[in-house]
Each structure stands twice: as C-alpha cells, then as structure tokens.
C-alpha cells in the first residue's frame, strides 16, 4: 500500500518534472501554479506513504529505497519552505528532476536493498539517516540555487531585453536561497556524519577512514565547509560558488554510490 501512495506521488512529481523542462524555455504563470499544486499533492501522497511505512512496523530505515524516498521528501520539504518565504517555484527547475528521479527509483523496484551490517543501536542509526538526508536535501537546493544564479547572471549580462521578463527571481534572492540552504544544511550534515561515526564505532569498534564511503563523505563535508567558509569570508558567489556547489554535489553522489563498494556501509538485495 505504501508503494501505491508513493506511485501516486510519483505521478504528481512527473508534472513538476515537465514544468522543470518547460520553465527553462518560457515563462508561464499558469503552468507554474499547476506544477506547484501538483508537487504539493505529491508531497501529501508521499507523506502518507512514509507514514504508512512507519506505522506498519516494517520500516527498514537502512533500506536504499526507503532512504531515497525520504531524501526526495525532505528535498520537497525544503522546496516548500523556500516557496513559503520567497514565493518562487523556480528552484523547482533543479529540485523537481532530482525528486522525481529519487522517487522513481524508490517506487519502481520492490526489492528492498538493505544494509548488510547488523546495527545494534537503532536510535543512532535513525538519527544518522534523518540528519544526513536533511543535509543532502539542503545541498541539492543550494546546488540548484547556484545553477539558477549562473543562468540569471548570464541573462542579465547578455543584456537581452527578454531577461527582464525571465521567470527567475532576482539575483540576490537566488543568492539568499542558496546561502541559507547551505547554512541550514551544514549543521545537519556535520551531525549526520558524527552520528554515523557513532554507529560505526558501536558496530565495528572503529571508524575506517580509508573506506571509500567514509572517505568520500568526509571529502563532501570538507567541500561543504569550504563553500560555507568562502561564502562567509569573501562572499563567493556566481561562477566560483557554482563550481564548489557542483563539486560538493558530485562528491555527495559519489558518496552515495560508494554504498556499493564500501565494506561497512554496503547494501545488498535481501
């Protein structure tokens, strides 16, 4: 049943995905409203799906698909918070495709892929997953904002008169969205890694820094920190910030992919 709700959500997110592609080419208030309502509806289905999963007592937090579903939901939640503050759907151009992809993967495959290691401390594991995914969601949004910043900067620099009616919000608004997501996500990511270390310590008795998963996670965290620092210290934005954000995003993807190579953070079909 939970999967059914998730598939409903996927249908709604699909409208968001179409919007993301259309919005790059032309502005349509009507379509942006439709996409927003579809995405909100998708979130409701998604929430029902997650709640049902949780209440069923069969929740397997350390399953890859549940993780993807949770991450997609958190990304949407971030998007909604930004919409509530800035009244813009344009971050959806980046967020919707990511959310759709994550939900798609989570909704099509019924085989739960589980963490192979036995974790004794469930509480720390859940905290680790929620914290790290919130951090990821913030990173997705900040990455999206930095790409939109580049697009808007190019448009304004091109001096093309159509730039005035572009669908994107003002440059400084995009910048604020990116920066605030970054600031908000950083503590979550840090705490997520710390709780992860606690889980590793209680399970294996040590943290193996040479393990690809841990190495890449630490690398991602380092890039994240550099981003926060350069922004705070010298106000990096535009191309340089987008470069760093892309790097952090790729590192995050690599860290996720490392689940398949890691000795301690491996998932396998049950």
């Amino acid at each position: 049943m939970s999967l059914l709700w998730l598939r409903f959500a996927l249908g709604c997110y699909f409208i968001g995905l179409v919007y993301a592609f259309v919005a790059l080419r032309r502005t349509s208030d009507l379509f942006s409203r439709i996409a927003f309502h579809a995405a909100s509806m998708g979130m409701v289905f998604h929430f029902v799906s997650l709640t049902e999963l949780f209440l069923s007592g069969q929740v397997v937090w350390a399953s890859v698909h549940n993780g993807e579903s949770l991450l997609a939901f958190l990304s949407m939640a971030f998007f909604m918070v930004i919409y509530a503050i800035y009244k813009t759907t344009s971050p959806g151009v980046v967020v919707f495709p990511v959310v759709f992809f994550l939900t798609f993967v989570a909704a099509v495959d019924e085989q739960p892929v589980l963490l192979t290691a036995f974790v004794s401390n469930k509480g720390w594991l859940i905290a680790h997953i929620i914290l790290i995914f919130t951090g990821y969601a913030a990173l997705v949004l900040s990455f999206g904002a930095s790409l939109l910043y580049l697009v808007q900067e190019r448009r304004l620099k091109s001096k093309n008169p159509t730039s005035l009616i572009s669908f994107l919000p003002a440059l400084e608004v995009i910048d604020q969205i990116g920066y605030r997501s970054l600031l908000l996500g950083f503590p979550f990511m840090t705490l997520g890694l710390l709780t992860g270390s606690v889980v590793a310590l209680t399970t294996y008795g040590r943290v193996d820094f040479l393990d690809p998963k841990i190495l890449l996670s630490v690398l991602m965290w380092a890039v994240y920190m550099v981003m926060v620092f350069t922004r705070w210290n010298s106000g990096w934005r535009g191309r340089r910030a987008a470069f760093l954000a892309t790097f952090a995003f790729v590192a995050a993807l690599a860290a996720w992919a490392a689940n398949y190579f890691s000795a301690i953070h491996r998932f396998a079909a049950s």
Binding site: L156, K159, G235
Partner: protein
C-alpha cells in the same frame, strides 16, 4: 443599450482644450448631479484625468444632447470645442469604455493608473446617486474586462522609459530596492530622473559626486543625500549598490581595476552601473567581472524599444478580448432588456388564472384535495403552454435588432404595464465584487 459617451482625450484635443474641460475632484459630485438633471439623461458620470475628459451616460431614448450639456456646463463656444469631441453610442460607447479601463486608449498603453482613476470617478458618481442600475452593470463589466486584459496579456508588464527600465533591471538584480544606496556620478538631468525613480522604489540614500563640488551639493540636497568630492569617488563608490554615471569625461572613468577593488571591499556583493554617458564612463572590461552589471544608454534604449514593440503586439491581443467582451455584454444587456416584459407577462396571466379559479370555485362546490391539485395542474399547464411561444420569441428577439418592436407588440397584445427593471438589485454578487474592490 442606450449608452452614450462624449469626450476629448490626448489624441483628439490639445492640452489647452483639455484644460478648459478638466474638472477638479471636489467639483465632480456636482457635475454628476448636473448631468443627471440634464434632459434625456437617466444616469451619468464623468471621468476627468490629465489626458481625458469623458461623459458617460445612459439616456432615456439613446439621443441625449451631450454636446449641449458640455457647452452649457463649461461655458465653451461650440466652435472651440466641437472639432475635438468624439461621441459614441450603444455598442461603440461600451467598446470605448472597455478600452479606456483596460488602458488601451492611454498615452502610455498599459499604464495602470487609468483603471484607478476610472474606479474613483465611478465611486464618486455612485455616491451621489448618478450611477444606478444601467451604468452600474456597464462599469462592473468594464472593471472585469480590464482585469482580464491585465491577467491574460502582458500589455502592462514592461516599462517604456529609460528610467523605469533602469529600475526594473535593478529589481532583477537586487529584488527589493529597500535599503539600497545609489551613487550619482556627474550631476545631469537624466541621472537625476533615474535617481528619482530609484528613490521612489525604496532606495535608502544617495551619494553625489561631480567635478564641480557645488553642483554635487545642490543635487544631494534635493534628495537629502550626501555630496562626495570627486577625488574621493573610488574610495566611496563601493558603498553604493547602484551607480548612475553621466560625466563628460573623454575616457572611461570606471575600469576593470576599479571594479575589482569595489568587489573586494563589498565581499563580492553585486553592483549595478547605469552608464548614460556618451562616450561611456564604464569600460566594457569592467562589465565582464562577476558581480558587476553594466547597462549603457544603448542597452537601456534597446530594452525600451523592445518593450514598446512587445506592448504593441500584446495590445492587439487585448483588442481581441475587448471585442469578444463587448459582444458578450451586448447579448447580456439585450436579454436583460426583455426580462421585465417576460416577468410582467407571467404576472398578468397568473392573475387571470387565479381570478378565473376564484370565480368558478363557488359553482363547483366542495372539492377534495385531489381535485384541487388537478385543477391547479390543469390551469397552470394551459398558462404555460400559452406563454411558451411569446417567451421564446421574446428571448430570441432579444438577440436581434428587432427586440424593441417585439417587446412593444407583446405589451400591446396583452396590455402589459412593465415596471422599470431595477438592475442594481439583479447582479448582486457582481455589485459586491465591485464594491469591495480597492
């Protein structure tokens, strides 16, 4: 539809004529009252703005002497006024009013001010009772049409002056302009105008630098700003988010190295340079820096030209909306015109039916409830059948030009006394909508 409209606007009359007709706000209520007291006029109101003076009326027979009213009210010689007047009746008057409210007849097509002015004039006339049923429904529709034009076309969305384009660009960079600082380099008329626009949109403070320091002080005082010595320009310029520059310098005064310094001191917060000097004050190299946005006079002009062209294209779409709305309005009014006749016909026949039942009731003796129901059904059935054809004929005639003739025939055939229709009571929801509008 006995609407009639007369007036002058910026296209038909020179300023001297418009000035003579202009009515100050305080005198509008009296003018509206005078208008409704004029022979042949049932309802009337006046729109008076700097670009137009128009009298809109609903007349008793469709041919009121509105020219006479203008001559009498404004004490103007007909020879001076008449060549500049335009006059519309019925459908054309409706169309003209819709176009005015939708800002298609404005000097700057799409400007939003006119709708507010029309609404104010309407509220004034309504308050003194000069606008009732007929004009009420016309104006309710005009406001709805204006709203539709605004939301379905982008006729009002883009700016058409260099100063307003500059403001729009600044908003695309900074979002809100509240708290932003403006630096004027070179005190000229155009930069002053641009600065005035920016301040009107919420910019916080102004710095002025000029080769002649006294002129800088003069301009700074106008805006309650701060004059800066020209030699301090590079040390202070980074305090501004928006720089308007228009010096007569033969070479660029802002070069790449200056831009880099500004950005470093501003922690890379963006800066917007509006360069209206010829030759340019900002080197193209500086404009390439991340975080520096430079628009020169040609760039701004290009944006203005493109907006004017866009508006023209959008105005064509808006005209199509107006045409369809005029048709709809006409059809609606015409249908409403026959409604009182239909109601009165129904009343008339119902009275006959009741009277006939009462008359024969005594002869029929005691009736059972079933018999009462049967008689009721029988008589109603006959009445409905009799009324069916006249009603359908009236309704279909309403859409044709022969409506008045058919209504007259029906009235004479049945000897109907039609009560004047109180339109203001009919579309109650619509009226509320207008009433609550700001």
């Amino acid at each position: 539809m006995r609407y009639q409209l007369i007036g002058v606007n910026h296209k038909s009359a020179p300023l001297e004529v418009r000035e003579r007709l202009a009515i100050p706000e305080s005198r509008l209520p009296d003018t509206c009252r005078d208008l409704t007291n004029y022979p042949g006029i049932e309802e009337g109101m006046v729109i008076s703005t700097c670009n137009r003076v128009e009298v809109i009326t609903h007349t008793t027979n469709g041919h009121a002497d509105l020219r006479g009213f203008l001559h009498q009210h404004f004490h103007i010689d007909p020879d001076d006024l008449d060549p500049h007047l335009y006059e519309f009746r019925e459908k054309d008057a409706v169309r003209h009013l819709f176009r005015v409210a939708a800002s298609l007849d404005s000097m700057v097509v799409g400007e939003a001010q006119i709708l507010g002015q029309v609404k104010e004039a309407y509220a004034t006339a309504r308050a003194v009772g000069a606008v009732r049923g007929q004009l009420d429904q016309l104006f309710s529709r005009a406001f709805a049409v204006a709203k539709r034009v605004r939301s379905e076309t982008s006729v009002g969305s883009s700016s058409v002056s260099i100063a307003s384009v500059a403001v729009e660009l600044a908003k695309k960079i900074f979002g809100s302009l509240h708290g932003k600082n403006v630096f004027i380099v070179g005190a000229g008329k155009m930069s002053e105008l641009a600065a005035r626009h920016l301040m009107a949109h919420g910019c916080a403070s102004i710095f002025v630098a000029n080769r002649t320091y006294e002129r800088a002080i003069g301009l700074a005082q106008k805006f309650d700003g701060q004059a800066i010595k020209f030699e301090d320009l590079y040390n202070t310029c980074d305090r501004a988010d928006i720089v308007i520059t228009s010096t007569g310098a033969p070479h660029a005064i802002f070069r790449r190295e200056h831009g880099e310094q500004f950005l470093a001191r501003r922690k890379n917060r963006p800066m917007f340079f509006i360069d209206i000097a010829v030759p340019r004050d900002v080197s193209p190299e500086m404009g390439k820096l991340d975080g520096i946005f430079t628009y020169d006079i040609d760039d701004l002009q290009q944006a203005v030209t493109s907006h004017v062209a866009d508006r023209r294209k959008e105005a064509e779409r808006a005209e199509a909306i107006i045409t369809s709305e005029v048709e709809k309005f006409e059809a609606r009014v015409q249908t409403l015109d026959v409604v009182p006749t239909i109601v009165s016909l129904q009343d008339h026949l119902e009275t006959i039916r009741q009277a006939e039942i009462d008359r024969v009731r005594g002869r029929m003796g005691q009736l059972s409830p079933e018999q009462e129901i049967a008689i009721e059904a029988l008589t109603r059935g006959i009445i409905n059948k009799v009324m069916h054809t006249p009603i359908t004929t009236l309704k279909s005639a309403a859409k044709e030009s022969e409506a008045t003739t058919v209504v007259d025939v029906v009235k004479r055939l049945f000897n109907l006394q039609v009560k004047p229709r109180d339109v203001s009571a009919e579309p109650a929801a619509k009226k509320d909508e207008v009433g609550t509008r700001p």
